[in-house]
Amino acid sequence: MIPSAATKNNKPFYKKLAIAALLLLLMGAGIAYYIFTEKFDDTSKIASAYTVDGMTMLQEFAANDSAANNKYREKILSVKGIVSETETADSSINVKFADSTSGAYIIFAFQQQHMAEARQLKEGDAVTIKGSCSGGTYSSILETTYITFKRCAVSN
């Protein structure tokens, strides 16, 4: 059977369509692979949105927690303060800056690659800690405000 002129003309079009579909599929798979295998960057290598004093930050949350959350939450911050306590959390260490008057505190959970730096810190040390701010909220157990940070690194 001799192919018609129309069928002959469609062949290159279908071929191009198949190649385009394959390319789109590969691109989609590549993007999906990138998104779902992506890890958080090392916090020490990310620029801070703000550098702030810990006690000033606690005062900002005490004055207007909604505004403070909007300003700081989910941002990388550098927070200056004095270590009031270190606490063991499973196999890792958390560092706290606390306001001795109100009991309000900021707590920093460290990135695995920066855990050794956290272990060097002790009560009374002046330090700047960089991390991802998870925001502040009120604890009905402790009856005070607390601000949490994750993926932290010592900044100085």
Binding site: N94, S134, I141
Partner: protein, 180 residues
């Protein structure tokens, strides 16, 4: 003299009452919703506030939802989004309960004890009763508490396409551990 004695008695009573309430701000809550299709939906929060009242048997914890740390940024974003935990509107997950059989744990004697705990878990703005076993390990003046239980996400009105598609477990495991 009588007044001084009374004052001292009050101070000692207050100290004793305070001492029975043990708290930590570094308890850990982990969330494991992995399936055979996806190993990513699991996270840990290591800045959880927890309480055990060794005399009354009260147990409680509070976890800031945004403090759950995932390995993958996109999964963490999904977890906090409106379609999931909606952490902007419901920033905290909490549990308030009691040791049902407090005589099962002797906080004054070293050892490993298992007790029943019952209480209310509040997640995504929904409160549901939870019962579980908890293990207490007493060592000198400190002790650890650990528990693990399974919840149904639909009970807490947490829904999403990924759950239906089998990429997120419908019944994730919640594990809690704390040192007091």
């Amino acid at each position: 003299m009588k007044k001084t004695t009374l004052m001292l008695a009050l101070v000692f009573a207050a100290t004793a009452t305070f001492a029975q309430k043990k708290t930590t701000t570094s308890a850990t809550v982990s969330f494991d919703a992995t399936t055979s299709l996806d190993a990513l939906p699991k996270a840990e929060n290591k800045t959880v506030i927890a309480l055990v009242d060794t005399k009354k048997g009260d147990v409680a914890f509070e976890a800031a939802v945004k403090s759950f740390s995932f390995s993958n940024p996109k999964i963490q974003e999904h977890f906090n989004s409106k379609g999931w935990m909606n952490s902007d509107e419901f920033p905290q997950a909490s549990f308030k309960g009691k040791i049902v059989n407090p005589s099962a744990v002797n906080f004054k004697k070293d050892g490993t004890y298992t007790a029943d705990v019952a209480g209310d878990l509040t997640l995504h703005g929904v409160t549901k009763p939870v019962t579980t076993k908890a293990t207490f390990v007493v060592t000198g003046k400190t002790f650890t508490a650990a528990s693990s239980f399974v919840i149904k996400l639909e009970d807490y009105d947490v829904k999403g396409g990924a759950i239906g598609a089998g990429k997120v477990a419908k019944e994730p495991t919640i594990s809690v551990s704390a040192t007091f």
